[in-house]
Subunit: 115 residues, 2 copies
DNA sequence: CTTGCCTGTTTCGCTATCGAAACAGGGCGG
DNA sequence: CCGCCCTGTTTCGATAGCGAAACAGGCAAG
């Protein structure tokens, strides 16, 4: 598979992201969102900060942005109330579903070159 | 293929982008860079603006940012000197090579689940 | 040459994000 | 209760991005 074929779906999906329709998230916000939805929890600010190698305040700010769009929610941990658990939301799942569809469509159309 | 398997490579690559090593580009800058390298030229500011559905000044600014990192260069068109042609650079090609390797590695490791 | 349109760029005020440091407050050992 | 360390958040000044509008300059018709 050529570099072009490999990267073309990325281009198409990123161009779609840029075309203003969806809420436009920064790269950190995307990385954070995908990490929350695709890796096993529980997700705390500290853990996300370490996993993404990004300072804690940046995580906190990114969570603000994602929360505003309803893509994620914060919840206090009962046992240790210092801890904030980052949870998925229905809106966020739906948002990622649409994103996955866009990725799928791009990769399928790139694969057409094989036949 | 589940949504997870589809999106996991995206997560991994985006997390790598975020981990501060490489120049950190915004989504628009990525979309612009990939468009210049993966779609047939010649690329002018006007055309890029229309293709990405982003206002011209935003393209101009993004080109500034990419130029600073040496990922792209501007060149006046000889026949019509109003026009700016956006060109690939060696550094940019190398940068995208590394990016393609990261994508490839992520997708391969995700595919291991099939065997 | 002048007018009008086209190119891409710059300016404007504003919002978002940045890293570093200070902060508020819960947990826990003494 | 008192410190101390841990949690996540907020503040700070600085930087980067935004859209809209103004701008500089090339081109071409008259």
């Amino acid at each position: 598979m050529s570099q072009n074929d490999l990267l073309t779906p990325w281009r198409e999906v990123m161009v779609e992201m840029v075309r203003g329709d969806q809420p436009d998230l920064s790269m950190r916000q995307w990385a954070l969102l995908l990490t929350v939805y695709l890796t096993p929890g529980p997700h705390t600010v500290r853990r996300l900060s370490e996993d993404l190698e990004v300072p804690k305040p940046a995580i906190s700010r990114a969570l603000d942005a994602l929360s505003i769009h309803g893509l994620v929610k914060r919840e206090r941990h009962d046992a240790d109330r210092r801890v904030v658990l980052v949870r998925k939301t229905a809106d966020g799942s739906e948002f990622l579903d649409r994103f996955a569809e866009a990725v799928d469509a791009s990769e399928r159309s790139a694969d057409l070159g094989y036949y």
